[in-house]
């Protein structure tokens, strides 16, 4: 794209986004988004569905700017709950829990929240600029991916989950398998067969992510904290410093850049883009760190990297929707819904036929991100104060928000029963020293991987060599194999040394 036309476009965008009315809708979206993001369980999809009919009465620009604001506002809010009370409301904030909550328990909730907001803003700025400059070429890149390539990418994603584990590698592998099995529960996409539904109709559509995450993280954390006074007091006792130190910022800057790069690329891909982005950013940080064993105990890079990655991915996931009209996830499907309500059929023509809307929306994303960081940083103090509420009371509030949040997903009481089930399961996992995060990644990637595997086999007319014949697919598989070896080799060596020692 010509540089001058880029500036013309951005100028047009600013002229739309900075009108008083659109600034207002942007603010409304960002505030509502942050609020529902903070509430565990209540996600952007449900909120956008509720607000969709209302948007009919707004001008098209205002409606879409507000809906987009809800989405990235929810990304900011989601990390707040993950860091403060170990509750991942969105699949992409699961990894934020690992080191973010660990930081909070060391009294460093303030720096963790602030770095999450700063990282998100940095990533949002870069990714928005990327959309403006390179949306069409990035679309072409995403279209190079055939089902076989996606399948291999999912394999790579699962391997990153093994790398991520800070305990036993073999148990992490078991948890991934368990997650994969949970993920394929429900109606098979290819054939319509029911699998592992045990005749219970709530399982026909598969298990929802939220009850599992709320159960194994949220309820389980309450149980563990109520059991153990020392553990619980850690949460609320000492709070040292609300803002990150210069050292913190220095340490996280590299992670933000790397997370942003990973997130920007993975966000364009449909399906698990944002989740893969946050998981792989965490893995990357752990791999290149000089102290990988400290991950999971409150490393600030473990917050900065994934938070930047998931926000970058959230922004770039707009690219296929804007350029092709293809929603890459449920939130983008709601955006498409918002456009259709205004008689705009999403697709390549939107950019040329409605440049004001197109560029206004892109610029508003940056404006919205700016608003979010501006009012999220002062909020950090208030959130940290919330931890001063005695845990015996805080636990009751968390319990309630978990249950009502899960109920609000589908107005289904049965899903609240699921959260009870997974709460107990999560407690068992902790007792057996099994980490739930790899299970959740398996759960999310499992059905995608199976679908792509079968689709690749269909399209190759039953020829499995398609996975090594396609260069992209081959590259992913090689990276996955190398990563796996790097993790397993020292593990085997250690086991052998141990065995020798015991024999001797």
């Amino acid at each position: 794209m010509e540089l001058s036309s880029l500036f013309d476009n951005l100028a047009l965008g600013f002229s739309v986004a900075l009108t008083l009315q659109n600034l207002f809708w942007c603010l409304v979206g960002a505030v509502v988004g942050t609020a529902i993001g903070v509430l565990p369980g209540v996600g952007p999809v449900a909120t956008m569905a509720l607000l969709l009919p209302v948007t009919y009465y707004l001008p098209a620009e205002g409606a879409l700017i507000m809906l987009a604001g809800i989405y990235y506002g929810a990304q900011y809010g989601g990390s707040t709950t993950a860091i403060l009370v170990n509750l991942p409301g969105e699949s992409s904030s699961v990894v934020t829990c690992l080191d973010g909550y660990a930081m909070a328990r060391q009294g460093r909730a303030g720096p963790a929240l602030a770095i999450a907001a700063i990282g998100s803003f940095f990533a949002g700025t870069v990714a928005t600029f990327l959309i403006a400059v390179a949306a069409p070429p990035l679309t072409v890149l995403a279209q190079q991916f055939a089902p076989a390539d996606y399948c291999s990418l999912m394999v790579l994603g699962l391997v990153t989950a093994v790398v991520m584990a800070h305990g036993s590698v073999i148990k992490a592998l078991g948890m991934i398998f368990l997650g994969l099995l949970l993920g394929i529960c429900g109606t098979d996409v290819n054939t319509g067969n029911l699998r592992f539904t045990f005749g219970v109709d709530i399982l026909y559509d598969g298990i929802n992510f939220v009850p599992i995450a709320m159960g194994v993280f949220g309820l389980n954390e309450i149980m563990a904290n109520l059991t153990n006074k020392q553990r619980r007091d850690l949460v609320s006792s000492k709070v040292s410093g609300l803002m990150p130190t210069v050292k913190d910022l220095k340490e996280s800057f590299g992670a933000m850049v790397r997370g942003t790069a990973l997130g920007s690329v993975l966000g364009i891909l449909p399906g698990g883009g944002a989740v893969l982005a946050s998981f792989s950013a965490y893995t990357l940080e752990k791999r290149i760190s000089k102290t990988p064993e400290k991950f999971g105990t409150g490393m600030i890079q473990g917050v900065a990297g994934p938070e930047s990655a998931n926000n970058a991915a959230a922004q770039t996931s707009f690219i296929p929707m804007l350029t092709l009209g293809i929603p890459s996830n449920a939130v983008m499907a709601m955006m498409v819904g918002g456009m259709m309500i205004h008689g705009i059929v999403p697709g390549p023509q939107v950019m040329t036929e409605k440049p004001g809307l197109f560029w206004g929306m892109i610029v508003s994303m940056w404006v919205g991100n700016l608003m979010l960081v501006v009012f999220n940083l002062p909020l950090v103090g208030i959130w940290v104060k919330m931890l001063m509420v005695p845990y015996r009371l805080l636990s009751i509030a968390i319990l309630f928000f978990c249950c009502i949040g899960v109920y609000s997903l589908n107005n289904s009481a049965d899903e609240v029963l699921l959260i009870a089930f997974f709460g107990v399961a999560g407690y068992l996992f902790v007792k057996l020293d099994c980490e739930p995060a790899p299970m959740l990644l398996g759960f999310i990637l499992g059905p995608l991987m199976e679908t792509y595997l079968r689709r690749a086999m269909l399209l190759s007319r039953g020829d499995p060599y398609v996975f090594v014949e396609r260069p992209l697919s081959l590259a992913f598989l090689i990276i996955a194999a190398v990563l796996l070896l790097m993790v397993i080799l020292p593990f085997i060596r250690r086991a052998r040394e141990k065995a020798f020692v015991e024999e001797g």
Binding site: A49, P53, P320, R455
Partner: protein, 318 residues
């Protein structure tokens, strides 16, 4: 969901119902859509819910109950209490295709009664231009020469996007590989990159306009106003398989006739307003108004045609 928690069913009914009819509705009405939010059922259902709520003075609350190709949402309505406060808004597939493919927890016409028809979505077959195929006849010739080489994407097994191309395959005696996707958008992605070559969907229209895809025909009795040069499927030589996707509202069997009639009348009224006309036109939907009896007849006809197709073309879910 009420099936596990049967306690939830309100214990109104009985004698009080007679009085209730006069002043229906007196509280919010639940409109169940059997798919996840954001799909074409939402685009059609939500404007109606909005307008009906305004017209009756009580909100029509949309409840997305997705899953199992629509079977879960339909079952929820079939088992709901017939008190006039639960309705179903659905495309035809869960009512006229699914029952012939799978054992379901509901049967028609026993469990549901028709209320009104709220819109038809006209589809067409689109193909990637790189193959140089310009008409249905050329498509059939190509497929005959290269059996199994072409692949088509669908929004899932048993959906209209699947069934209509199966119908063409059966009528023309050709072999095209079926590749199911989780919804149309997913399939469109692979269609645009050429991983599959053919698809029956309305959401491709912008890409037809931009020249990235080619529209071979429309599945309707009349041509599409925007593409007057594109023939209907009947004109292209394959009559009788050009059924559009039709959306309708149903109520649990036993719902008072007066309530159904009041609902139907209000839909007719709303459909005539300029606002509703504009909203439906924007999403390529035509609203063929029908009385409940006509819908029953249309249902029976569509269902029988699909049963015949599934039997003859040996379509299964496995």
């Amino acid at each position: 969901m009420t099936s596990l928690l049967g306690l939830a069913a309100p214990a109104v009914l009985g004698g009080r119902l007679a009085n209730a009819q006069a002043a229906w509705p007196t509280k919010p009405v639940k409109l169940i859509l059997p798919y996840a939010p954001g799909g074409s059922t939402d685009f059609i259902g939500r404007p109606w819910a909005d307008k009906l709520g305004q017209a009756f003075g009580h909100p029509f609350v949309v409840d997305n109950r997705g899953g199992a190709s629509g079977a879960i949402g339909v079952e929820a309505v079939a088992k709901a209490s017939p008190d006039g406060y639960t309705f179903l808004l659905t495309p035809n597939a869960p009512l006229t295709v699914l029952p012939h493919l799978r054992k379901l927890a509901y049967t028609l016409p026993k469990d549901l009664v028709p209320v009104c028809r709220v819109g038809d979505l006209v589809c067409g077959f689109t193909i990637v231009p790189s193959l140089g195929i310009n008409s249905i006849a050329e498509l059939v010739a190509y497929a005959k020469k290269n059996p199994g080489k072409l692949a088509f994407g669908s929004a899932g097994p048993g959906t209209s996007t699947h069934m209509r191309i199966e119908a063409l395959k059966a009528a023309a005696g050709i072999d095209i590989l079926h590749v199911p996707y989780r919804g149309s958008a997913d399939a469109l992605n692979d269609l645009l990159s050429g991983n599959v070559q053919l698809m029956n969907e309305i959401i491709v229209i912008p890409h037809v306009r931009s020249g990235k895809l080619k529209l071979l025909n429309v599945n309707n009795a009349i041509r599409h106003p925007e593409f007057p040069a594109v023939p209907t499927l009947a004109e292209a030589g394959y009559p009788g398989i050009d059924v559009p996707v039709w959306y309708s509202v149903w109520a649990p069997a036993g719902t008072p006739k007066e309530i159904v009639a009041a609902f139907n009348a209000k839909v007719t009224e709303i459909a005539a307003t300029d606002d509703m006309k504009a909203r439906m036109q924007a999403i390529n939907v035509v609203v063929p108004l029908q009385k409940p009896d006509d819908i029953s007849a249309h249902w029976a006809q569509d269902s029988a045609a699909n049963a015949k197709l599934i039997r003859e073309a040996k379509i299964t879910l496995d």
